[in-house]
Amino acid sequence: MEVLYLPEFGQFALILALAMACVQAFLPLIGSFTRQPLWLAYAQPAAWAQFTLLAISFVLLSLSFLFDDFSLAYTAANSNSALPWFYKLSAVWGAHEGSLLLWLLILAGWTFAVSLSRGLPAEVLARVLSVLGFVSVGMLLFVVFTSNPFDRILPRIPVDGADLNPLLQDPGLIFHPPLLYMGYVGFAVTFAFALAALWSGQLDSAWARWSRPWTTSAWAFLTVGIALGSWWAYYELGWGGWWFWDPVENASLMPWLTGTALMHSLAITEKRGVFKSWTLLLAIFTFSLSLVGFFLVRSGVLNSVHAFANDPERGFFLLILLAVTVGASLLVYALRVPNLKARVSYSLLSKDVLLLANNLILVISSIMVLLGTLYPLILDALGSGKISVGPPYFNALFVPLMLLLGVFMGLGPLTDWKQMQWQKLKKKIWLAGVITLVLGFAVLPWVYDGEWHLYVALGLTLVLWIFTTSFRDLWEASRTKKGWLGISRSRLGMFFGHLGAALIVLGVTMVSNYGEERDLRMQIDQPVEVKGYQFTLKKLIHREGPNYIADRAIVEVHNPKGRLINTLTPEKRLYTVRGMPMTQVAIEWGFLKDIYVAMGEELTADAWAMRVHYKPFVRWLWLGALIAALGGVLAITDRRYSSKKAQEQLTAINKGGV
C-alpha cells in the first residue's frame, strides 16, 4: 500500500527542513560579517523552503493518523481506529513528538509571516530571519535526534493503537495547544527583532515599532490559549477549579507576565525612545521563559498534575538548548548594551515612569512564579528533601502584586508622557476615585449576600477603578472633531485590554469569595442543599458510548424558590481501550453563576458520592481574557502600523530622539 511510504517522506522533509534552517541561520550571519548582500538574500527563500518542508512533514504525520498507520510508534501510542476523525487529527499534537513538530511548524509559520512583512529593510529582515533560523535549528536537532515522530515499530505492527488519552478527547484540547504555541513561539519573533537590533547596533525606535504588532499578536494568542486551558481544566478534570498553580500552568503564565510587560515597555521605547536596554532585556527574558516553560513541561523534571514523558536524555538536550539560547543572547546583550545612551528626560510623575512601575510589578510577579516553581527542584538537587510549593504561596504573593498593578493600570492611561503636574492628574482622577471608593469599597460588597468582606471590597474597588479610569480615558480620546469614531484602534485596544483585565479580577473575586464546593452523599429521592439550591438524585442509569461505558446520574436542580431549573446528567465513564475512568461533569451555566455537578464514586446501589459546586461569575474570567485578547487584535490593526505618515513620524523620532 502506498500509504506505508508516507512516514519516510515525512522524515525526509524534516531533515531537509533542518538543512534549510541551517542555511537560513548561517548564510545571513556570514553575509553580514563579510558584507555580501547576496548571502543575506538567502534568508528569505530558505525560510520559505523550511516552512513548506515542515508543513509537508506535518501533513504526512497527520495522514498517518487519519489512515491509522500504527506502524509508527507515535501513532500507535496515541491514536486508535475507533477515534472520530477530528480527534485523530488533534491526536497529532496529543503527545511529545507531535507537539514538538507543531511547535516547529508554528515557528516556521511566524517566520514566513515575518518574511512577508512590508517596509522592513532587507538587511534587518535577513538578520531577524537568521536569528529565527538558529532557534529553529536547535529545536529541529532536538526533534530529529531525540523525539522523532516518524519512528517505526517494525516488524511487529500493532493491530490497533493505544488510543488518545480520554482527557484529551475534547474540543477544548483541539484548540488549546496550537493557540498556546502560537503565543509561546510568537515571542520568538520579538526575541529575533531584539537580537537583530543588538547585532546591527542600530538601536533606534524602529525595531520597537516593528516588534510591537508581533509581540501583541503573540500575547493575544497566549492569552486565549491560557484561558482555553483554564476552561478545559474546569469542566474536564472534574475538580471544578480554574487555576491550580500547577507547574505547567505556571510555565505558561511566566512568559505571559513578562510578555505583558514587554508589550507596555515597547510602547515607551517606540513613543519616547527610553528604556531601550530594559525592553531588549525583556524581549530576551520573555522568549527565554517560553523555553524554560517548554523545558519544565517536556523534560519531566517537575511533578505536575500533567504527566509527561520522563526522559533524561531529552531533558538534558533541552537544558543545553536553553543554556545556549539564554547564554548567547545575554552575551550579545552585555556586549552591545553599554553603547546605548538615551538622550531623553522624564520626570517621576509621567506615563514613562508609571509604565516602568507596571513593568517592575509584572516582572517581579513572574520571578515569584519562577521561584515557586523551581524551588522544589533546587531543594531536591541539593538533597534537602522532596517538597511541594502549594497555592497558598502563590496566592499570598500574587494577589497583592496584582492589586498594586491594578492601581497603576488606572493611573497609567490618564497620565501624560514625559511629565505631568500632580494637580492636573488629580483633576482627572478625583471623580473616578470617589466613585470607586464609595461604590466599590463601601456599597457593592454588601449587595451579594448582605455582608461586607475585605477581599470582595478590595477586588471590587480595583475593578471599578480600572473601569472608571478607562472610560475617562476613552471619553478624553473622543473629544476630537470626529468624536467617538475618531478614537484610534490602539487606544481602543488598550481600553479593551484593561477592561478584560478588570473582568478577570471581577470573576476571580466573586468565585473565590462566594463560590461553594461540596463533596456529598446523594441518595435517590433524598434532596441535598448547597447554597440554597436543592439537588435531588432521581435515577441512576447505565449506558454505553462508542468507546466507553458509563454510569449516568439524573439530578434535578431546584432554585431557592423551589422551582425546577434544570435536570443535570453527569457521567462517570470508563474508556475501555485504556481502562481509564473519566468524570463527565454536568454544568448549568449562566453569566451570574455556574452550577456544577460531578459524580464521584458509587457508595451503595442507590447512593453516590457527588461533587457539587456553586460558582458565581466564573465565566467572567474567560470572557475577560477573550476581551483582553480582542483588545490586542484591535491594537494590531491600528492604521499607524501601515500608514505612510506614521512611518515619517517615526523617522523624525529616530533623528531627534523626541
Binding site: L168, H176, M580, A609
Partner: protein, 156 residues
C-alpha cells in the same frame, strides 16, 4: 551629581530595592508554605512532625480501601513495601485512584500516626508514578519493575 544622574540613580535604587524586597518576601512566603514529603517508613519511625501539613504517599495496599457507605468517609493504607500508614479522607477520591497504584496525599498526622488528608492526588496517566513515591520505593528496595515511567502520553 547632575539632577539627571540623581534621578537615574533614584530609579535604579527603587528598582533594586523593590526587587530585593520582593525576593525576600518570596523566600519568606516559600518557607512557610512548603510541604515536605514523607514515606511511610519515615512516618512510622516518627520522623514526620505531628500536626503540621505534610505530604505522604506510596502504593495503595490491595484490599485496604474501607469505605463508609453512609457518609463520605474513606480510609486506605499506603505502603513503601517496608511500612504501612493509614490515610483518612472525606472527599471524593480522584478518578485514577486505584488499589496497587501510587498516590500522594496532603494532610496532617493525628496522634495515632494516621494521615488526615485534605487532598489526595493520583495522576492523569495510569502508568505514572509520583516521583517521590518512586524514590521512596527505591530506597526501600522494593521498586516494582513494570510500574513507573513507562512512556507517558498525556498532554495538557
Amino acid at each position: 551629581m547632575t539632577p539627571k544622574r540623581k534621578q537615574k540613580l533614584m530609579l535604579i535604587g527603587l528598582m533594586v530595592g523593590g526587587l530585593s524586597l520582593a525576593i525576600g518576601l518570596t523566600l519568606y512566603a516559600l518557607s512557610s508554605n512548603i510541604n515536605l514529603f514523607y514515606a511511610p517508613t519515615q512516618i512510622v519511625a516518627g520522623e514526620a512532625p505531628e500536626g503540621a501539613e505534610i505530604r505522604a504517599g506510596g502504593m495503595v495496599v490491595e484490599g485496604s480501601v474501607e469505605r463508609d457507605t453512609q457518609s463520605m468517609k474513606v480510609r486506605f493504607a499506603v505502603t513503601d513495601y517496608n511500612q504501612e500508614i493509614w490515610i483518612n479522607y472525606e472527599k471524593i477520591l480522584p478518578d485514577l485512584f486505584r488499589e496497587g497504584q501510587g498516590v500522594v496525599a496532603v494532610g496532617r498526622l493525628n496522634d495515632q500516626g494516621e494521615l488526615m488528608a485534605s487532598q489526595v492526588l493520583a495522576r492523569h496517566d495510569e502508568n505514572y508514578m509520583p516521583p517521590e513515591v518512586a524514590e521512596a520505593l527505591k530506597l526501600a528496595g522494593e521498586m516494582p519493575e513494570a510500574a513507573p515511567f513507562i512512556r507517558n502520553t498525556s498532554n495538557k
